[in-house]
Amino acid sequence: MNAFEHRQSAHCESGVMASLLTHAGLPMSEPMAFGLASGLAFAYLPIVKLGGMPLIAYRMPPRHLIKTLSKRLGVRLTSRTFANPEQGRIALDAALDSGRLAGLQSSVFWLPYFPPEMRFHFNAHNLLAYGREGNEYLLSDPVFEAPVRCAAEDLQKARFAKGALAAKGLMYYLDDVSPEQDWQRLIRTSVLSTARILDGMPLPWIGIRGIGHLASRVEALDPTNTKYNRLYLTHIVRMQEEIGTGGAGFRFMYASFLQEAGEKLGDATLQEASVRMTAVGDDWRQFASACVRASRSKGESPNFTPIADMLRDIAGQERVLMKELGAWAKRKG
């Protein structure tokens, strides 16, 4: 087994999976891992509250990437959770001592190497452990530039933090990774699945209909309720840019996947779709800027209709794109 090489990623789960696969002998970029697992999505979930605000997600729920990608690649995924934290520590030590690379789910809040302002109670952060030295674990946290070290007690607290999405010490690793893959089939299956998630769910909060729903929520904001509006709009921005790591709600990462997939298959349709997905990502960032501008403006009562229209325009573009990609995926294959 070669020495492990840390790679910085935009998003934790796709980064961990790309590193695990690459280390096991199947070279994989982060966008490729994200795309092949059909990670792109949109969901507006008013019932799940974060600090009193609705959950807005730009990707599939935690653990989706790990499970879907393993299944599609025909990789054997072993994942374990632990009722007893001590057993979780022993199992991790045993895995590391036998030379394994272990993926871990943990809370962001209890990891001391995170800057204070980035620490919040999010239990579904993924990272890799690749060794230990004395009382410290050697970690490859995908969103950081370089590998980090973490004291055993701190990692233990982070792995077994309670609350929503509690990790229960989740540890996972991959076996039987085959470097031979049917890329044509993989890419078509995953693109079709993304097209269906974004543009084919009969629920008003999921996919492109969810973007439309968010637009009507923004439009319905009461201009006199300045403080709430400010918190609401910046909440959307945080979900998209800060928590949806990589920016623009993962749209750039998906565009990068489409480009790489297009090159792999020599397919111009995917290349062209990539260019358009990049344009959609740029529009998402414009939308984030507009939300912040509206939160900042003092004095005159803000008009939310232009911001809602930006969202509707984005939704329209994504719908056309997903229809075309869905048709492409079904055409041959």
Partner: protein, 135 residues
């Protein structure tokens, strides 16, 4: 987003770190590149942190005046709200809210205090000391 449009706004919220983002070069080819901050994102983060700090300060003032137990202040200090604290401590929300009353808090048994201590990552002695004295 093109490579030269990748924001480098030195946001303090990144704590001196850089994030990886994907952007296209002049020929339209994607690559990973680092960004050390984006101003609108930093504004959103700081606003959320400031909101929690305001709530913490209000709860702390009420604690000093003896109108609230320390739990509400500590809840905001450790970046939680009522549903989050209830879930992490494994209690119903109404019980958590009841424990915000100073008279109830002073009578809390050690087992309950230990749950809160674990949720905040504090030694239980500290929470026990607050039963007898103000901060």
């Amino acid at each position: 987003m093109k490579l030269d449009e990748v924001p480098q706004d030195h946001s303090s919220t990144y704590g001196g770190h850089s994030k990886l983002v994907y952007a296209v070069d002049a020929s339209g080819h994607y690559q990973g590149t680092q960004s050390d901050g984006w101003e609108p994102e930093a504004y959103a983060t700081q606003l959320a942190v400031a909101e929690l700090e305001t709530q913490e300060a209000e709860a702390e003032a009420a604690w000093r005046r003896g109108e609230l137990s320390p739990l509400k202040c500590l809840m905001y200090r450790y970046r939680m709200d009522e549903p989050a604290l209830a879930q992490i401590a494994g209690l119903w929300q109404w019980r958590v809210r009841r424990h915000f009353r100073p008279d109830i808090y002073r009578r809390l048994n050690p087992a309950l205090l230990a749950r809160y201590a674990e949720a905040f990552g504090l030694p239980v002695e500290e929470l026990r000391r607050y039963q007898k004295e103000l901060p």
